[in-house]
């Protein structure tokens, strides 16, 4: 995390400025804010998945397994946004794509097959229970990662 003393300019090369590689989303304010929102979602999705698995897994195993998968994907995305090297950049893109695919597929299925997804998860109803942020977040994430990509490659 950024310290109060550090105010380095965003990295323009693939190598470190202020000890952090140019691929990291933590280089600029908006990237750090995005990372924070991802962190909030990682926390929220983990808490919900943990509760569902402890208390009521048998009610809707499919939905709750998906909740757990979503939580893991959000955690991976958060960690990769912070670390930011060539590899984690690619993993972050993959995570965002999985999130986008997940929220779209689960969103459609929760209308066509409500019996499977009758229990709420982060992704059901296109993320309606979470103010559609699960739908918006991967798009913003991918847009941001593409920007980082352009900046690093010059």
């Amino acid at each position: 995390m950024a310290l109060r003393t550090r105010r380095s300019a965003p990295g323009t090369t693939g190598t470190a400025t202020g000890g952090r590689p140019g691929w990291s989303a933590m280089h600029s304010g908006p990237g750090r804010a995005l990372t924070a929102v991802y962190g909030v979602f990682a926390l929220a999705a983990s808490a919900r998945a943990g509760y569902q698995i402890i208390r009521e897994f048998d009610e809707a195993p499919t939905a709750y397994t998906l909740s757990a998968v979503a939580a893991v994907v959000y955690i991976i995305a958060t960690v990769c946004l912070v670390i930011g090297n060539r590899t984690t950049h690619r993993i972050a893109i993959a995570s965002c794509l999985i999130e986008l695919l997940g929220v779209l597929v689960v969103g459609v299925l929760s209308f066509t097959h409500p019996e499977v997804f009758r229990a709420p998860s982060v992704w059901s109803g296109f993320g309606i229970g979470y103010g559609f942020i699960p739908l918006v977040l991967p798009v913003v994430g991918l847009w941001w990662l593409a920007r980082v990509d352009r900046r690093v490659r010059g």
Binding site: R32, Y51, G131
Partner: protein
């Protein structure tokens, strides 16, 4: 839950959200005022924790794991956002506080629904 405290938490987190958004739009980093107000939200949540434990006998049938799961997540989220905003020197510090405060607002509503 205690109705007065619930409404106070709603109002406080709503005002904090708007304030943090205004700072973000005006391109201002988080100052002592906003950081103090974020600390105030943490204090209110701790009061909520104490009150919830004290009134637990009245909430017959409320799932403790669910209710306190929400409360502890909120108690974790607010200081994290505060430290993040303290470390962040740009307008995006208040943006993080706004995101956390609106999350707390929603979580209070969920807690109010969970509390029987």
């Amino acid at each position: 839950m205690l109705t007065a405290l619930t409404y106070l938490l709603f109002a406080y987190s709503a005002v904090l959200t708007v304030w943090a958004l205004v700072l973000t739009i005006r391109n201002t980093a988080a100052g002592k005022g906003l950081l103090g107000a974020t600390g105030g939200l943490l204090v209110l949540l701790i009061v909520q924790l104490v009150v919830s434990i004290a009134l637990w006998g009245r909430a017959d049938g409320t799932d403790p794991l669910l209710f306190f799961g929400y409360l502890f997540t909120a108690l974790l989220l607010v200081p994290l956002a505060g430290f993040w905003a303290f470390a962040e020197l740009s307008r995006w510090g208040p943006a993080v506080v706004a995101a956390a405060a609106v999350t707390v607002f929603v979580m209070i509503e969920r807690m109010d629904q969970i509390w029987l």
